[in-house]
Symmetry: C2
Subunit: 287 residues, 2 copies
Amino acid sequence: MKVAKTIKEAQSAVAEARRAGRTIGLVPTMGAMHQGHFSLIERARGECGFVAVSIFVNPTQFGPNEDLGAYPRPVEADLAGCEARGADLVFVPSVEEMYPRESVTTVAVKRLTDTLCGRTRPWHFPGACTVVAKLFNIVLPDKAYFGAKDFQQAVIVKRMAGDLDFPVEVVVCPTVREADGLAMSSRNAYLTPQERKQATALSGALRLAERMIRQKRPPAKQVIEAVRRHIAADAPDGAIDYVQIVDPYELRDVEKTDPPVLVALAVKFGKARLIDNALVDSGPARS
Amino acid sequence: MKVAKTIKEAQSAVAEARRAGRTIGLVPTMGAMHQGHFSLIERARGECGFVAVSIFVNPTQFGPNEDLGAYPRPVEADLAGCEARGADLVFVPSVEEMYPRESVTTVAVKRLTDTLCGRTRPWHFPGACTVVAKLFNIVLPDKAYFGAKDFQQAVIVKRMAGDLDFPVEVVVCPTVREADGLAMSSRNAYLTPQERKQATALSGALRLAERMIRQKRPPAKQVIEAVRRHIAADAPDGAIDYVQIVDPYELRDVEKTDPPVLVALAVKFGKARLIDNALVDSGPARS
């Protein structure tokens, strides 16, 4: 496994693989990897001849009072984890390498970024889209892998890639969960033991919402209220940022809950802001 | 010479050339080609193994009351001109091919787009940058060729490519002029015979500015006034949009005229809006 710290090193490793006729898979991450990340690498490993993983805590997608400084950066463990899953290249650039001078260019996605996480974190998606565009241009992947836990991000990146004709297929992989249902996230590390217990309320509330929708398709408002009550009861230390039910393509709020719909929520526990979602499609319920 | 109407056709022609180890040159145009465009194709021909020309009158870079409908589209003549200069591929997509559904993504460049032409045409550069990003992603050129007549566009595209790590070298080629000094432009076709005569005032005023700067480096304000007076005298039917002197990298207005500086102007004659510029560098005067 090659570790590249510069854009040039990464490009030359990828170029060599491309010349050898291998398809290129990219897994963009901010590091602090857990089984969610590893599942993306494993999926890429199964589908591509060359798997590149990027680890970059991108400052432009953090807000002024967010956890940029505190975000965990266990680089050695991440590299070992990538190697164990068969990555060919890990690209670990510095901030100076990615932003060597004032960047004046932003890739902006309208509308899809105004809802859900974009409401309280308006800086997030412009920053994320711009760095993903940069990574696409550096690695020129045939396929890029994103997790469904960040459903809105996946929808936005997919749309951006389509609108700008990036020659990449955006692959969205299922959320990986702890045994008790909590969606894996690097930010779970911020939780106190008590918050950690309460945090299962997020996936619990989503399962409740899914059951309600599958059984009776009640108005979205009613499902949202039930989700909020569930979280208030099971996670008294959690502060709900949003609970929304949207169509999974345009992310517009729906009134009726005819599948497919996405139930998405964000809850803060102290300094940890956790997100989770459930896509309720028209297929049979998954236990 | 291959003519591709779809993105897929263009991509497959380019992919074949790339597999054959040829460097890819792209000349993005809006068609209505003149010797300025042809000089870009000739330059690309000399430097690249495969020359792609795109012809696309991009609606998103025109304002609501601009000349999108009237913009000349002499496709047959353009194709013949491209073939005569040795282009390998001409990509002539329809609007539906480039924008098959509502595009929500924009590539925005800050600050550099707020001055010069961006002041009166704020929609122009976001539209142009976005379509250039699309063309870069479709063709994946090693080099892309732009004319110095659209100096601000060239600076912005160069910066965008750098900021987003597009693996392309942006090559800026000299403005091509008519015998009487008028910069070649597809929009010169809009001029009445009388306006056409007066339009030489643009290049005349720029030569005057260059002489003043080379001789005495007067304050920018003084040069701008002289340019305005020259245009008012020689082109009474022209309405000046702007005359500015800026540094040629960041496009910030300068007070002193120490080279290198860019003298740039836009003048309207009826429905034709003409632009021109002169880069006054620290080398010896060019006749």
